[in-house]
Symmetry: C2
Subunit: 211 residues, 2 copies
């Protein structure tokens, strides 16, 4: 399946639509108007129609969207109709919080391997049953477990080295929580997404100041 | 100071520029070319010039940017030339990870109050010295401590209720980590930013599938 060049913001919104549709499906709602769906997602109805139009024809005029059908289609568009296998490095507070976060599993993301450099943590088993391995075995265990996406929760000064090793395995994607901009080659084979909490806070601070 | 309507992506990039400039300043670098700064931030030099042009004239032709000067100016633009006081609700794994995260303090964000509903946690003191208070005292303690921004780390089903209470205090902004789209009135007095880890993962999954 080959797509047009889709705006990144559209992909982000599809993801938000899928969350809302999941909640509706959980609540046994079978049909939703575009107005109601838009309200739940904090956008306007025209935006939803525009975003979906990139991928085909969805919904029924005068009726709205069939919840389960649209959810299925959006998940397929996003590539979420399969399980994604994650390897996480850095089992401090944040790493443990992520592994315990129920939403990953719910969305089809499975942590299949966890790593740390601290001898006190290595060998320890998390509540989920996942064992913390030494970072020295990163390549080997990622291959064994079929990890596809690497999650980096290390201190900032270790993140680039870990990313380099993940790229060399190669993992297909990296989700980086370390507060540092990773230097990665421009290659479609590995995509990096940065999650920086303080960047979001800066957005808030700007709006509270300039608003 | 009144600004033009600035694209949200520009604000996000300013925040990323400030991280890079901070690292340069820490490393005693006093001048940086726009090419080098762009490289560090994963953008092209024209993008930096374009983003900064919204706010005035920066940098010296043929020289580049004075690191400390530009950092100061960007922080001022973002409203980071002051301390922002944060109140956090939900002291599970994630809440504790955030309070312990050194980057907040470094960027001028201070956690001044922490809350939970679990009697086992209330009264407990975090490594930072912050005490966990009962959520029943949210309004009172937020006022006492001068909290300006609320951080929500509760389970999704509790997030809306907490947000409503924060809005009624009123706090000026909310950073929401709960995986749910908050319903908030469209008012410039309170701005909400959502941080959803799995939305970032969905972005990755999409690119790895459609790429």
């Amino acid at each position: 399946m080959k797509f047009l060049k889709i705006p990144a913001a559209t992909i982000t919104r599809l993801s938000i639509y899928s969350r809302a549709l999941e909640e509706l499906a959980d609540g046994q709602v079978s049909v939703v108007s575009s107005k109601k769906l838009a309200e739940l997602c904090g956008v306007n109805p025209a935006q939803i129609r525009k975003d979906l139009a990139y991928f085909g024809q969805f919904g029924v005029r005068g009726v709205g969207y069939y919840v389960k059908e649209l959810l299925f289609d959006i998940k397929k568009i996003l590539g979420l109709n399969k399980e994604w296998r994650l390897a996480i490095v850095g089992m401090g507070n944040l790493g443990c919080a992520l592994v315990a976060h129920e939403n990953f599993e719910k969305q089809g993301y499975s942590f299949v391997a966890a790593f740390d450099a601290d001898p006190m943590k290595i060998g320890h088993r998390l509540a989920s049953g996942l064992e913390i391995h030494s970072i020295t075995h990163l390549e080997e265990i990622c291959r064994e477990t079929g990890a596809e996406i690497g999650v980096i929760c290390t201190p900032p000064e270790r993140a680039q080295e870990v990313a380099n090793r993940m790229l060399s395995i190669p993992l297909k994607g990296i989700l980086n929580f370390a507060p540092v901009q990773l230097q990665v080659p421009e290659c479609p084979a590995c995509k990096v997404e940065n999650v920086d909490f303080t960047v979001k806070l800066d957005n808030l601070a700007y709006h509270l100041t300039a608003g």
